[in-house]
Symmetry: C2
Subunit: 211 residues, 2 copies
DNA sequence: GTCTATATTGGGATAGAC
DNA sequence: GTCTATCCCAATATAGAC
């Protein structure tokens, strides 16, 4: 293996580890020492490769974000009716959201404080194609009367996202609430997974439609 | 005004300001100097009143959280059918959620890193009465056939919360998405506010019910 | 490229005068 | 209770040997 490949491998390795630490602690709370320890390299090497904590953060942040959004985009790519697409997306996205919930919280938190980073990210990530296809198909099915037409397509899209993402991202709020009602958070998620597609489909299907 | 009242006033004033700064920067990113400056007091007074940054954070965090949850609880207190309750809650909660969105993000983020704090908060906040009333009324209306009975009550409750909270808390994600589709985030929120109650009611009403 | 040693500064916390 | 001065450590960052 030549030197450049090795360097890239090490850099990628560090980026993965760094992402873990940033997820856990946030940018300000994360420690270069901890990243170095977990990556089993010397602390000064972090500066050798990335110059500063900020640059390391930005790099790992953008790479991880891209990866997650790409996976979610894939879960959206499915041929079939809108109802089938929704069902498929929900089935395939839950595991990704669960596994990356700490990153998603970091994502929301840091981007909320850092307009610069948000802009950089906007340029990098592009899902508009998949989303536009979904929206135009949705309009079609509304016109045909398969789906009720009193829901704005963009609202439905965001609702699907809210309903799939918030149970994971909002863990502290949700567990607060479900535990007051004597449910366990993890058990709740299981019920949620089973029911969520049906909940959304109930709200969009036209009850008068016959085919 | 006697000394003790004055002391309480100053403490409360500091707590308000501190909450602003913590919201903006998170615990690790917030600076005692900035809190002192914004509160127009000397930095060492912060330690005089609160001993440490952690204690100041905890105090302001719990007070603000209590205040928000109390307001949201009020928005839930409304006599009428489930559909009316939902409509009322959504109308009255949006402004609270909008005004406190930065705090809610802090809330999720810090509680996700700090199990200790989460436990302390659980003991302080109790909304189970309002929520239980809502859930049992919901079951009643399901049994009467007014509402469809294929949605688990707890799932509906959490869905209502997800759909009302996430558009504010998830701003970076949502704006990312709506802007790719040439919507403006704030405009989106307006559409959302108008449609969200109907969306939920569509999904729970029994289409075959006649009264 | 990788390490050790060190510079530098930021920021929480305290001492002590008033 | 309020201020100034200062302590002190933690953490980022760099210099320089190998």
């Amino acid at each position: 293996m030549d030197k450049m490949k090795k360097k890239l491998n090490i850099e990628n390795h560090i980026i993965e580890i760094a992402a873990d630490v940033f997820e856990e602690k946030g940018f300000a709370g994360a420690r270069m020492q901890q990243i170095a320890d977990q990556a089993k390299i010397n602390k000064s090497l972090l500066h050798y490769y990335f110059r500063s904590k900020e640059k390391l953060f930005e790099k790992s942040f953008i790479i991880i974000a891209n990866r997650i959004f790409a996976k979610l985009g894939q879960a959206f790519n499915f041929s079939g009716s809108i109802s089938e697409k929704i069902t498929n997306f929900l089935e395939n996205s839950q595991y990704i959201l669960w596994k990356n919930r700490n990153f998603l919280i970091l994502f929301i938190n840091e981007l909320n404080q850092n307009e610069e980073l948000l802009k950089k990210l906007m340029d990098e990530i592009n899902m508009s194609q998949e989303l536009n296809i979904f929206l135009s198909q949705l309009k079609e099915e509304q016109e045909k009367g398969i789906l009720r037409n009193d829901v704005e397509p963009i609202v439905l899209l965001v609702n699907i996202i809210s309903l799939s993402v918030f149970p994971y991202v909002g863990k502290p709020i949700i567990s607060q609430i479900v535990e007051q009602l004597n449910y366990d958070y993890e058990d709740y998620l299981e019920i949620h997974k089973k029911q969520i597609a049906q909940f959304i489909i109930n709200s969009i299907k036209n009850p008068d439609y016959k085919d």
